[in-house]
Amino acid sequence: MEKLRKRFTLHEMVLAGAFLLIFLIGACSNENFLSIRNILSLFQQMSEMGIMAMGLTIVIITGGMDLSAGTTMGLCAVTSGLCLTKGLGVVPSLIISLGVAVLCGAMNAVLVAIIRIPPMIATLGTQMFFLGAALVLSKGNSISGIPESFYFLGQAKIFGMPLQMLLLFGLAIFLMIMLRNTVTGQHIYAIGNNMKAALFSGIRTKHVLFYSYIMCSVMCCIAGNIQVSRVATARADMGSAFLMTCISAVVLGGTSINGGNGGIVGTVVGIMIFAMIGNIMNLVGISSFWQQLATGSILVLVVVFNRMIEMQKYKVKSRKV
């Protein structure tokens, strides 16, 4: 027990415990839960949310927030959907969609890093703007008739494993290495811990912020394209429902909402927990309205719990904004 306590923090142990508990509940409540088919489809469902949540993790580590992530995903989905139905090839469509994502990220970064609007407010505004842009592009309708050559991204299987699951783990490993072992990654943590100290020690904070927000938007773009390919339609409000779950998963995974610590592994575990909850509810036949209730409750409980641990640890009495 002592050894365990030294190696892992309390939060990591609780997270692992929660993961095992939900896994056991799933295994007991329905015999189909442990079938290989279900587990593979579980990964297939969680990969879109997981990729978006990993992008959000980076931004949250810098002490920021990207509330526009969901609508960025919708905008990118609509863009590539439009390009594909207008007869452009798969590769040009993906490139244009990525370009839109970079523009979205850059717009967020300009507002946050250069004009210095609090990230929550800035991205609250761009959230509406991107949604509006996506609605205008798609004229408020959903775009169908995606050519079959695009289906590989969300429906192909390699050695029996869905492509997007491999993509999820590939990106996770890439981001983990980026955060842990590169200078940029360390700068991201430094900015989240103390923006002023980072600036005074010579870190080009604006560059790093641009990098983080664009990275987040690109992740949303990848998630959006996977979903377009999986369901063969593109809608403006595609990712809007993802945002809450993704933020909850990031926070559940141990990334501090004030920035400065956390990581990709926690986020992936957090997303897995939410995916399992949704999967179990579907298997047992509970309506999706309960999932909304559950997601909100888990977010509030986790944030309060984390805060209570923090308050005990540092004996924080005064209010920190």
Partner: protein
Amino acid sequence: MKKILEKRETGVFLILLLLCFGLSLYSPSFLSYTNIKNVLVNSVPVGIMAAGMTIVLITAGIDVSVASQMMFSATWLAIFSQNSPIANPVTVLILALVLGAITGAINGFLIAAFSIPPIIITLGTASIYRGIILVYTNGRWIMNIPKWFTALGKTYYNIPLPIIYAIIIFMITAWILKHTYFGRSVYAVGGNENAARYVGVNIKKTIFLTYFYSGLLCGFAGFVLDAILGNCQPSGSNGWEMNAIAAAVIGGTNILGGSGSVIGTVIGVAMMGVIENGLVVAHIPTYWQKLVYGLIIIATVTFDVLRRNYADSKKQMIEIDQEA
């Protein structure tokens, strides 16, 4: 006179007048009594929420659960008014305030007691409140709200009742902000929290009361919404929290806390209503609405922050001069 001209509210008000003038040239029906009445009545629920949002924003907080709180109240009121034998205008009003008080108190308690960023808590509680009513009603509309209830949202002698409600709420809120201890501590907490603490303001109590009051107004907004519409869609009015925030910000409330006024918010609400109506009058498809709102929010916030940064940089230079 000069003071009035320098105020931010005056500028926004002039833009509003200009907008109305342009629209009335474009379409004469814009200035008709019916159209203006419809614009004003339809913006009453958002306006009431925006009054609460103003106070929240002044403390440098934010409440993105207002639309969910409003629907939480509206849904239970609709069910109560149909099924309960003791339902009458008085009990419905009391229930509306109690429901608003409960949701507001939960928000306020979580934010004040644990010092968690308000946006995270209210994002969470927004989906909890919405989830509860969706689970209970299974997402179905509640039709046929009783006649005596909708009578509270009708027009008598050419005076629409909802507008009277809104005026009362705005006056109470303005009075609270200007003339009560709580109202003055709201400005103090938003302007400089540490300074407020040293002066002896109870920060946690002020923060709690802020969200409590915002919840109370959301409960009342749910009451007005039911009375106006005559039915209730539990999954409806999505994104109205953004309209409330936008109205307050357009009206000059500082998103970083410390300043803002109810009169500005009233002008902001009217502006949002006129823009929405203008898009309809000018035959622009409704899906342009979000784009326009988003642009307005980004532009006003950007302008506001730039102006304040500029003012701050001036201030610091003076301080350095004095030290030297």
